[in-house]
């Protein structure tokens, strides 16, 4: 259980759901954790869980839409741990629920989804990748969705944002080729999380993956190079279970 021993990981949106599960999985594999989220109480609770898993943790209350907060997240992580090896852009905004059709979508809410899901990951990745290039290694994992490639009624802004995040990931990947810094977009699949319940309250949890299972794919991707820029978490887990 030491695939990430001594590696410094920064996880956004870490107070619940997939972000929390990824932070805990990384902690169990020996990583040092910087976690951020908007809600201080929930973030502190996850920080306590990470600490209980035996990992050093820095909890930073931050709103990734705010450029001062992006600088805080990066500077505090670098001050605390001197480097950043892994960045997981997980913080995501679903948009208003119940999910409205595009024809009914509140324009400001559309902007907000793009801010959180596209602009913030760009800004944070830029600041972190600059440092990763200086240290000549690092891995960035962007949390994508099948909504990035398929249209679903009501998922308009989210779909656009994740498609844009995939596009961002593809360009980064081309530009970072050969630098030692790699970047991936991962579709985690449908999970039993608060976000999924907000989007599809009628879904049967039995059909949904647990975020703890999916987090193992993130451990694998963070610890070993993978040829694909965009991939489904499920594909990594299947490979692992066959071994």
């Amino acid at each position: 259980m030491s695939a990430l021993r001594g590696r410094v990981a920064l996880v956004t949106g870490a107070s619940r759901g997939l972000g929390r599960a990824v932070a805990l999985a990384f902690a169990r594999e020996g990583a040092l954790l910087a976690i951020c989220a908007r809600g201080a109480a929930a973030l502190e609770a996850v920080a306590a869980e990470v600490r209980a898993a035996g990992a050093a943790v820095l909890a930073i209350q931050a709103d990734v839409r705010n450029s001062r907060d992006i600088e805080r997240v990066v500077a505090l992580t670098l001050e605390g741990f001197q480097r950043i090896d892994i960045l997981v852009n997980n913080a995501s905004e679903l948009g208003p629920t119940p999910l409205p059709y595009l024809v009914d979508y509140p324009p400001d809410a559309f902007d907000d989804v793009l801010q959180v899901n596209v602009v913030a990951p760009f800004r944070l990745s830029q600041a972190v990748i600059r440092s990763m290039l200086t240290q000549r290694e690092g891995v960035v994992i962007n949390v994508s969705s099948d909504a990035a490639v398929t249209g679903y009624p009501g998922w308009g802004a989210y779909s656009v944002s994740k498609a844009a995040l995939d596009g961002l990931t593809r360009t980064w990947a081309e530009e970072l080729e050969g630098t030692g810094v790699r970047i991936h977009a991962v579709d985690p699949g449908d999970m039993d999380t608060a976000m999924h319940r907000a989007a599809e309250p009628e879904a049967d949890p039995i059909d949904l993956a647990r975020p703890e299972e999916v987090a193992e794919a993130f451990v694998r991707l963070a610890s070993e190079p993978h040829p694909a820029t965009r991939l489904e978490a499920r594909s990594l887990l299947e490979v692992r279970s066959r071994v």
Partner: protein, 339 residues
């Protein structure tokens, strides 16, 4: 010919904004190349810097990250004051205390007085004996986050409006701690650096957390007071310097750090600590072969430092050329490479 005495920089040559906010790429600022061997001066664009370097050369950059180091504070009588911590040792700051608004004149504090600073309280312990404009201030609680939440980048009169902190960061900025941007490297993009790597011109980084470039007092500034700055030269950087054909310092902060870390055999070794080394014609560099730097007013100590690299005549010729060709000065301005 350029004469130092009484010289004033034409105001329009002061870069008042970063290149990107002037509508150009950061690596498209101008580059003046001064060749000390031939005495020739060449004018080009910064992204062409590789044309003057060879495989085996090493660029050494300062990966210190700039802090928003103009911190609002309040005195017990309710009046606002701005603190500019120049040296930070945990919760102990040596800080300039100035008016919050231009021209940011110094504000005399009183030993023992309490200040409200960035969400905590602080005690003024007194002046620094060697630099009396710096106040020794002890914060009740430590924390970089307080500074990051409350501060703004330090800005001088030639930059009229607020500039977001990200424009003060070099593209390799990593370790937080500089009061002002290590600005010589602001012109580098990763596109340029990665292009240089492909041509066998490598990069190594050291850390030197910069202090203040001005004490907001012309007479005091003219005396060129030097004080300590924190630096770190890693094992990796020291080894890279040892292997390099030529060592090109990106910024005078890099010169200060590397030259402090030179041992008595002339080799750079891994070292961290405080340095008060003054580079001048009296202390010539031992390991740095070339320098990339900006244009700063010649009354500043920068000019004296440059004379450790370039003889006075050639330097005056370079400055005259910069003025004639309308080079932009200060941290957001154009650059020079001294070979």
């Amino acid at each position: 010919m350029f004469e130092l005495a009484g010289w004033k920089l034409p105001p329009e040559l002061r870069a008042s904004q970063p290149a990107e906010l002037r509508g150009m790429r950061r690596d498209h600022v101008r580059l003046m190349v001064i060749d000390r061997t031939s005495g020739s001066i060449t004018h080009t664009r910064f992204d062409q810097v590789g044309d003057f370097l060879d495989a085996g050369d090493l660029l050494v950059v300062n990966s210190s990250r700039t802090l928003p180091a103009a911190i609002p504070a309040r005195r017990q009588d309710g009046s606002p004051v701005q603190l500019r911590p120049s040296v930070r040792r945990g919760q102990h700051w040596d800080a300039l205390a100035v008016q919050p608004n231009p021209p940011h004149a110094n504000v005399p504090l009183a030993a023992g007085e309490r200040l409200a600073v960035a969400g905590t309280q602080a005690t003024v312990e007194g002046r620094r004996a060697d630099i009396p404009l710096l106040w020794r201030i002890r914060l009740d609680e430590d924390g970089l986050d307080r500074l990051l939440l409350a501060g703004e980048p330090i800005r001088y009169s030639y930059v009229p409006g607020p500039i977001p902190l990200e424009y003060y960061q070099t593209v390799y900025a990593t370790h937080p701690g500089s009061a002002e941007a290590p600005s010589a490297g602001l012109a580098f993009s990763w596109e340029v650096l990665l292009g240089l790597h492909e041509r066998g011109i490598e990069t190594a980084d050291i850390v030197l957390h910069t202090g203040l470039s001005s004490f907001q007092d012309d007479a005091f500034d003219a005396e060129h007071h030097m004080y300590e700055e924190w630096f770190e030269v890693s094992t990796l950087a020291a080894a890279a310097v040892g292997r390099a054909h030529r060592v090109i310092a990106v910024g005078t902060t890099v010169v200060r750090a590397l030259e402090t870390a030179v041992d008595r055999h002339g080799h750079v070794r891994a070292l961290a600590g405080w340095t008060d080394l003054k580079i001048s014609p009296a202390h010539r560099p031992r390991v740095v072969d070339a320098l990339i730097t900006g244009f700063h007013e010649p009354q500043a100590s920068h000019f004296e430092l440059l004379q450790a690299f370039v003889d006075g005549d050639l330097l005056r010729r370079a400055y005259a050329g910069a003025i004639e060709r309308r080079y932009l000065w200060h941290e957001f301005g154009d650059t020079m490479l001294i070979l």
